[in-house]
Amino acid sequence: MTLENTLLVSAAIFGIGLFGALSRRNLVVVLMSVELMFNAVNIAAIAFARFTVPAALAGGPVALTSDAVRQVLTGQVFAVFIIAVAAAEITLGLALAVAIYRRRETAEVTDLAAARG
C-alpha cells in the first residue's frame, strides 16, 4: 500500500464514475456516478494526508505543534467538507429527479434534452 497504488485505485473509480455520468440515460444513475467521483476524490485526499510529508514535519521535527498536526490532517479535513457538499448535492439532485419525474413522467436525460424549451 503506497501513495501511488492508492491514487491509481482512486483514478480508476473516478474514471468509472465519469464514464457513468457521461454515458448513462437514467438521471438517478448519473447522480450515483457523480457520487462515485466524489468518493474517488475523498480516497485521494485521505491518501495524500496519510503519505505526504507536510512542511512543518519535514527535515526533522522537534515539536509536534498544532500547526504540524493541522498540516498532516488537511486532507482528512478536506474529505469531511467534500462529504458534506456531496450530501447536499445528492439531496438536491434526487429531489430534482423526483420533481422532473412528476412533471414529465420520465427520468431519462435524453428525453429531457429532447423536451427542452
Binding site: R25, E35, R50, P61, L64, V85
Partner: protein
C-alpha cells in the same frame, strides 16, 4: 510508524479490488435498484480503504452518511421514480464511446501523474528520521511547550508505552475535532448553512403541488 506489512497489502488490494468492482457494477448493471445496492457496497469498500489509510473518523462518517443515509435516499428515489428494471440504459453509442474515451483518458492522465511524480513519502522519510517516526507512532517522550499547550516538544524516542505519547495518526478524531472548532471554524459553520439550504431546497423541489397552489 504505520505498519507496512504483507497483511496490510493483501487487505488493501482486496478492498481496492472490491471497490473498483462494485463501482463498475453500478455503471454497467441494467437494474437501477441493484446498481444502488452496489453503490452502497462501493461506499463500504471506500470506508475500508479509509481505515487502512488511518482515517478512522472518516470511515465512521462514510458509513453513517454514505452507506446509512445517501444510499437509502437513492434507493427511495429509485422506488419513487419507478423505472427500475432495464432503466439503466446507455444514452446511445455516441455517448458510450465519447464517455468511455473521456473516462479512460482522464483516468490515464491521473494515473500517469500519480506514478511519475516524485512524492515525498511520509513512511520513507520517517524510516530515516527517528523523530519524524516518533511523531507518527507516538514512541516518543515529550514535554508540553511552556508557551503553547497544544505543542509537544519531542525529546527522546522511547519504547516504554507508559511514557510514550500518542502519535499524529493515533488520535486523528481528537485532532480533527480540535481543528474543526479552531482552524476551520468558519468553513465548518458555512457548511452547516449549505446543508440547511440543501434541506430547504430539497423540500421545496419535491413538494407535491396541488391544483390552485400559488407557487
Amino acid at each position: 510508524m504505520i505498519e507496512r506489512s504483507a497483511i496490510v497489502d493483501i487487505a488493501f488490494w482486496l478492498i481496492a479490488g472490491s471497490a473498483i468492482g462494485t463501482s463498475l457494477m453500478v455503471v454497467v448493471l441494467r437494474d437501477v435498484f441493484k446498481a444502488a445496492l452496489f453503490l452502497a457496497a462501493s461506499f463500504l469498500a471506500a470506508a475500508g480503504l479509509f481505515v487502512l489509510l488511518r482515517a478512522e473518523f472518516l470511515a465512521a462518517v462514510q458509513v453513517l452518511i454514505y452507506v446509512g443515509a445517501i444510499s437509502v435516499l437513492i434507493v427511495f428515489t429509485v422506488l419513487l421514480v419507478r423505472q427500475v428494471s432495464g432503466g439503466n440504459r446507455p444514452s446511445g453509442p455516441f455517448y458510450v464511446g465519447a464517455g468511455g474515451l473521456a473516462a479512460v483518458l482522464v483516468a490515464l492522465a491521473i494515473g500517469y501523474a500519480a506514478v511519475n511524480t516524485d512524492w515525498s513519502d511520509l513512511d520513507a522519510a520517517a524510516a530515516g528520521d527517528a523523530r519524524l517516526a516518533a511523531a507518527l507512532s507516538g514512541q516518543y517522550e515529550a514535554q508540553p511547550s511552556p508557551g503553547d499547550p497544544g505543542v509537544d516538544v519531542i525529546t527522546v524516542p522511547v519504547n516504554d508505552p507508559e511514557r510514550a505519547r500518542a502519535g499524529v495518526f493515533e488520535r486523528t478524531t481528537n485532532h480533527l475535532g480540535t481543528l474543526f472548532v479552531r482552524d476551520y471554524v468558519l468553513a465548518f459553520e458555512v457548511i452547516s448553512i449549505v446543508l440547511l439550504a440543501a434541506l430547504i431546497g430539497a423540500l421545496a423541489l419535491s413538494r407535491e403541488r396541488r391544483e390552485g397552489d400559488a407557487a
